[in-house]
């Protein structure tokens, strides 16, 4: 007997253990590289050794035996040589201008990995090298000079009220600039994909991925195939965090092109170095804030600019920017707000999705700035936030009225109370030379939009299905059919709980298989903190429909037309009861599989103007507050994060254990973002390109946690959940910086914050003062 799944009655709201855990702890979960595909070849990408240039020619060694391998060059692409990622500005294989180091020049496949790697070494590109732009500092410098040589990849503005009037009413104006660096997702399973041709001339793609319905249709243009000939299946995925959101279309395309050329299945699994160097990162950012304040702490105007380093091509950056600007001045009451966001091109790998998706950069800047505002008007940080935080009935920077499900100020009050914030703030060292260790506590308060921006969910029309079928021999049950993926976040466990509750059957009669575009409706990508709220709603709705259909069947076929209710796994009819499995089996024997589907809708009064970015920015906001306590060594400036007190409102918790797990994992990734994960660029190349040099938190690095939740359900969408996945990434970095300031008296406006940064600030302060 192996480990057993714990089952509790009343599935939604219970700490159900994860459905995928038993296989994972036994080493039986099958990830992409574990699949043994007979006759599978191995693919390799031939990459540009320069970051910016013009490809003159790509020569190949004539003495190498090319008959043993398959090669794909731009001319071999059956469709257009375009990566259909949102904007058509990136070729699938470079043929003229090279825009980042490692841009593909050719693809090669061979019966084994060693031969594929050897073949790749026999290509010799001749490239005219051109000067490049790489760093956020270069972008900001040119931006401040309004230099027209900056290449924009997108921009968006949102305006509320009259910003000039707001500043004219202010008693004081506070400005600040805040920088954030790259962050690598560093999922432990590297990118992995397999493609093979199907008998009908199509391709079957499977691998480690977040969004099956991104790859199909995005590869149609390149492969010159209609959508029905591209089947995409997710395999067990060893972490993603956004890194397997839009990127897998590229590696899937490499495999598919090689499979079509070689007529063999083709697998590509990156090694860690290749994965870090040539996949997406979180966008480095720069935020500049200028805020008008009255002496009593009233905010009269907020002017926010947010710049992102987009990398070489647009890809998903405009969507990231949208979330960024919607969070750049979010959370506080102000009638006059101007937010402007821009993405600029550099000669680096395109930046992309990473948990939080623009919101962590925006919140880092804004919550650092809020601390400055409190100081400027002589208020304590908690008083300033308590006075200005948005509450029910208030209006957000885009003009959205917060009608319901507003966990503010509850999350703030809870953290202030549980962390004993006021008392600990007084104990903070502020660089007191008499203290042996500098202690400080810092605060951050924030909101995070759940689901797609604006009316995106209304336009998308996500669908989810459940189907009655034989889930094992002699075991009738329900399969959940959604395109949402399980990448570690626990989605399948939660979907099982929601479906089991809606249908009113035991958890063991429900399963959620890995999605496959040939079997699942399009419930959308697994992104944007939308899965539980949006897709969970479709599963709930589909479950209710299945329940009604089965009750009707039972009434007609078994109970002579009398009313029947399916509850807790039994069909009950005026005192009599029959087990779910018995009726389900007779349904399957008589009619075969039964599938019901449900579509997500939004309240009809939700209004959004995509051109002005005004209106209801999200279906709902989740709310969060973090307090960080740090200890800084006055000699070495070593920073120890001692304790994090966090409170979140994520609506109704479907699975509190899993909510906590999401919070813990996200907060620890943010410790890395704030204090450890430093990545620079030298000669066009990331300087931390291995696990030895890209340092993420390990077990001894974690602080004490106090994590709690307050539940303000999103009543419009049963079962009432809002988003959780991204929000833990938003607030801890500014909370840590604010704590470090209270400990040391030094304000850091750049993350990650390293001891050497504190030393530099310390010297500058004492030299000048």
């Amino acid at each position: 007997m192996g480990p057993k799944r714990k089952i509790k009655s009343g599935h939604v709201g219970a700490d159900s253990t994860r459905v995928d855990a038993p296989d994972k702890v036994r080493g039986r979960a099958v990830y992409t590289d574990d699949i043994d595909v007979p006759g599978c070849w191995y693919g390799k990408v031939v990459r540009s050794p320069v970051a910016h240039g013009r490809l003159r020619s790509l020569k190949r060694d004539e003495e190498f035996d090319w008959s043993r391998v398959s090669v794909v060059l731009p001319d071999d692409i059956p469709g257009k040589n375009i990566a259909d990622l949102f904007i058509h500005d990136m070729p699938f294989i470079a043929h003229d201008e090279i825009n980042y180091l490692g841009e593909p020049l050719a693809l090669v496949a061979a019966p084994d990995r060693e031969l594929a790697e050897e073949a790749a070494r026999h290509f010799h590109p001749d490239i005219e090298e051109l000067p490049g732009i790489f760093h956020m500092e270069e972008i900001v410098d040119l931006y401040k000079k309004q230099d027209s040589s900056l290449h924009s990849l997108g921009e968006q503005t949102t305006v509320k009220g009259d910003i000039e009037k707001g500043f004219s009413e202010a008693d004081m104006i506070v400005t600040g600039e805040y920088w954030a660096g790259y962050q690598e997702q560093l999922y432990i399973e590297p990118q992995a994909m397999i493609a093979e041709m199907t008998d009908d001339g199509g391709v079957f793609i499977r691998g480690s991925l977040q969004c099956p319905y991104f790859i199909n249709p995005e590869l149609c243009l390149t492969l010159n195939l209609p959508p029905e000939k591209i089947r995409v299946k997710q395999e067990m995925t060893g972490g993603a965090f956004g890194g397997k959101e839009e990127y897998p279309t590229l590696i899937a395309g490499y495999c598919a092109l090689l499979a079509m050329k070689s007529r063999h299945p083709v697998k590509i699994v990156f090694d860690r170095n290749e994965d870090i160097l040539f996949t997406t990162k979180r966008h480095p950012s720069w935020g500049r804030l200028k805020t008008g304040l009255k002496k009593d702490g009233t905010i009269t105007a907020i002017h926010a600019e947010l710049l992102l380093n987009g990398g070489a091509y647009t890809t998903i950056s405009r969507v990231v920017l949208a979330r960024g600007i919607l969070h750049a001045a979010m959370g506080y009451r102000c009638d006059n707000v101007f937010v402007d966001g821009r993405i600029f091109k550099t000669h680096t790998f395109p930046c992309g999705a990473f948990r939080g998706f623009g919101a962590p950069q925006a919140t880092w800047a804004f919550e650092s700035h809020i601390e400055e505002l409190a100081k400027a008007c002589g208020m304590l940080p908690q008083e300033f936030r308590r006075k200005n935080c948005l509450v029910q009935g208030d209006v957000t920077p885009t003009g959205m009225v917060l009608k319901d499900s507003v966990g503010s100020p509850a999350v703030l009050d809870q953290v202030l109370d549980r962390s004993d914030f006021a008392k600990k703030l007084k104990q903070s060292s502020r660089g007191n030379p008499k203290h042996k260790k500098w202690y400080g506590i810092g605060l951050a308060f924030f909101a995070h939009g759940s689901g797609f921006t604006g009316d995106g969910e209304a336009r998308f029309k996500a669908k989810g299905a459940v189907e009655l079928d034989w889930i094992e021999p002699n075991h009738p049950g329900v399969n959940i059919r959604i395109s949402s993926t399980e990448m570690g976040q626990g989605a399948f466990t939660i979907m099982d709980q929601i479906a089991a509750d809606a249908i009113s059957i035991p958890l063991d009669d429900v399963r959620c298989p890995l999605p496959d575009t040939s079997l699942c409706p399009n419930s959308g990508p697994t992104v944007a903190s939308r899965t539980t709220m949006v897709v969970g709603h479709t599963v709930h709705g589909a479950g209710l429909k299945l329940k009604a259909a089965l009750e009707e069947f039972a009434s007609k076929e078994v109970f002579e037309g009398r009313p029947v209710v399916l509850e807790n796994g039994r069909f009950v009819c005026s005192g009599e009861a029959l087990p779910f499995r018995q009726i389900a089996a007779s349904y399957l024997d008589k009619h075969g599989r039964l599938r019901t589907e449900h579509q997500f809708t939004l309240p009809p009064d939700l209004k959004w103007d995509q051109s002005t970015f005004k209106g209801d920015a999200y279906p709902a906001f989740s709310w969060g507050c973090n307090a960080a306590e740090v200890e800084v060594d006055p000699l070495t400036f070593e920073i120890r994060l001692k304790k994090v007190t966090a409170c979140f409102d994520v609506g109704r918790m479907i699975n509190p254990l899993n909510c906590k797990a999401q919070a813990e994992g996200g907060l620890v990734q943010t410790i890395g973002y704030a204090l450890m994960e430093k990545m620079g660029i030298r000669n066009g190349k990331y300087d931390a390109d291995r696990m030895q040099t890209y340092i993420v938190p390990t077990m001894p690095d974690i602080p004490e946690f106090d994590i709690t939740f307050v539940e303000y359900p999103y009543e419009f969408s049963p079962p009432g959940a809002k988003g959780i996945g991204e929000m833990p990434m938003d607030g801890l970095a500014p909370a840590i910086a604010n704590a470090i300031e209270n400990a040391t008296g030094l304000r850091c406006n750049r993350i990650p914050i390293m001891p050497e940064d504190l030393f530099t600030l310390h010297r500058a302060k004492h030299q000048n003062g």
């Binding site: 995928d20 038993p22 702890v25 080493g27 974690i702």
Partner: protein, 159 residues
């Protein structure tokens, strides 16, 4: 270099294999023996996903040349855990504590936990941190893994 032949006890069963002496132990385990529970996360001994036990000692199998592992060595991979009562206790603790998320680091993490508890079934907090400091998990934030190890220690079968 010509192949070498080794006979090991792998997960309780005797296995004889031939391979080039410098072949990574990780590849022998995953590809030759098809114990694919053992994972490669970095290939340079940093992430710990490929951790296996050689005579009870945790090693990152991506950094071991298989030819260096002598005849008679007891090799334990994640697949061997459920064959022992202690292994099952550990697995159950990971499941009920919610310690596994994406699961990719978990085989290595479990081997680190198993090595610790086999030697020291009443570990202190510091013992736990030390024993798992070489295993990177990007999902859990480690909190529930620590809880799982504590829970397994409570339930550890003692003779």
């Amino acid at each position: 270099m010509s192949n070498v032949k080794r006979t090991w006890n792998v997960n309780g069963e005797e296995k004889t294999l031939e391979f080039p002496p410098l072949r990574r132990l990780l590849d022998v385990i995953r590809e030759d023996m098809r114990f694919t529970g053992c994972k490669e996360g970095c290939g340079e001994g940093e992430c710990g996903a490929c951790t296996v036990l050689l005579d009870g000692v945790p090693v990152t199998s991506c950094l071991v040349a298989a030819g260096q592992v002598p005849d008679g060595t007891q090799i334990l991979t994640v697949e061997g855990l459920e064959k022992t009562e202690q292994g099952r206790v550990l697995q159950e603790a990971y499941v009920s504590a919610g310690a596994s998320q994406c699961g990719f680091c978990i085989p290595g993490m479990l081997m680190a936990s198993f090595a610790l508890l086999s030697k020291n079934s009443r570990p202190t907090e510091e013992d736990i941190l030390d024993a798992h400091g070489g295993n990177i998990c990007r999902c859990t934030g480690y909190v529930k893994i620590i809880e799982a190890v504590r829970l397994a220690a409570q339930n550890w079968p003692r003779k």
